[in-house]
């Protein structure tokens, strides 16, 4: 577990987690075994909520602004039960770094 994910302060001893996914604004809830990876769980949630048009790698999962590693088991992510996970599509970068830029 990375330090970044320790800050979530969840319960690593649970055998299963009730997770609330907010996928593109839709709420989807499910109970998942703590030994499943977030990727497995995310795939299931995307399928069940009819968000099947994009591969799982196109999505990212965040909680409290922190991006979770989908390859980790749920028990390693520091999640708390009933946590709300925000699932959103990754954004493709356009832009042109040669344009005028200043500041941040």
């Amino acid at each position: 577990m990375s330090n970044k994910q320790n800050v979530l302060g969840g319960n690593p001893t649970l055998n299963s987690y009730n997770l609330n996914f907010i996928i593109e604004g839709d709420l989807f809830t499910g109970q998942y075994d703590a030994n499943k990876t977030l990727r497995e769980v995310l795939e299931h949630a995307l399928n069940k909520s009819q968000h099947t048009g994009r591969p799982v790698d196109d999505w990212q999962v965040k909680v409290a602004g922190i991006t979770l590693d989908v390859n980790q088991k749920l028990s390693n992510l520091g999640l708390s039960d009933e946590v709300k996970l925000v699932v959103s599509l990754k954004t493709g970068a356009g832009g042109n770094s040669n344009w005028y830029e200043f500041g941040i």
Binding site: E24, G65, F102
Partner: protein
């Protein structure tokens, strides 16, 4: 702050070539999805201030800061949605007038990898031609991106119905790149050598 939800009677229909009822229904669907999770958005500092078809105004707060900061405000416009993707305009949170790039406090940095020294490389998703011009978000799903001459080969129709261009997608992108990384204020203090002068009362100056 009172939230206004309704129809803008001063809305310029001349630019709307999609049947307005169709765009309005899709606008309502996107808005209702947002409102169904409004509490969660507020916890993350995403505040809806106006929703009058065809536009929704939001302000985004950096909630990790004390005091919290209004980092930016946007107007998401659903004119001709979803034959066209939504437009995102950065506005002054109080006057609601569009702001130039130089007034944007964040440039929506996206991590694009590591350089050979292991340093994180980023790219600004906020683009503009001069500090005085209108800034725009440069990624698929945003009207300004697809209408830009650099991206004529990346049509919106390749993305429509795939997830990009929804209100949720736009809000999450604005939050992920504009708000989530902000954890502190950076203060720049310019220290100047004090200039000590003697104060004279003109009345006491001799002729």
């Amino acid at each position: 702050m009172e939230i206004v939800i309704g129809m803008n009677l001063e809305y310029d229909v001349s630019s709307q070539y999609v049947e307005p009822a169709v765009s309005k229904e899709k606008f309502d669907r996107e808005l209702n999805l947002f409102l169904s999770n409004k509490g969660e958005y507020i916890k993350r500092g995403i505040i809806l201030v106006d929703a009058i078809f065809p536009s929704i105004d939001f302000i985004f707060l950096a909630q990790k800061l004390t005091p919290m900061a209004v980092v930016f405000a946007v107007r998401v416009n659903f004119n001709n949605y979803d034959v066209e993707p939504p437009s995102v305009t950065f506005i002054d949170p109080l006057s609601k007038l569009p702001i130039p790039a130089m007034k944007c406090l964040t440039h929506f940095q996206k991590r694009i990898g590591l350089d050979p020294n292991g340093q994180i490389q980023t790219q600004a998703l906020l683009q503009f031609e001069t500090p005085f011009s209108k800034p725009f978000l440069c990624f698929a799903g945003i009207r300004e991106y697809h209408n830009h001459p650099f991206h004529t080969g990346d049509s919106w129709l390749l993305y429509r119905k795939r997830g990009e261009g929804t209100l949720s997608f736009i809000i999450e992108a604005l939050y992920n790149y504009g708000i989530a990384p902000i954890e502190s204020y950076n203060l720049q203090v310019q220290v100047q050598s004090p200039i000590v002068q003697l104060g004279q009362n003109p009345i006491n100056i001799s002729e």
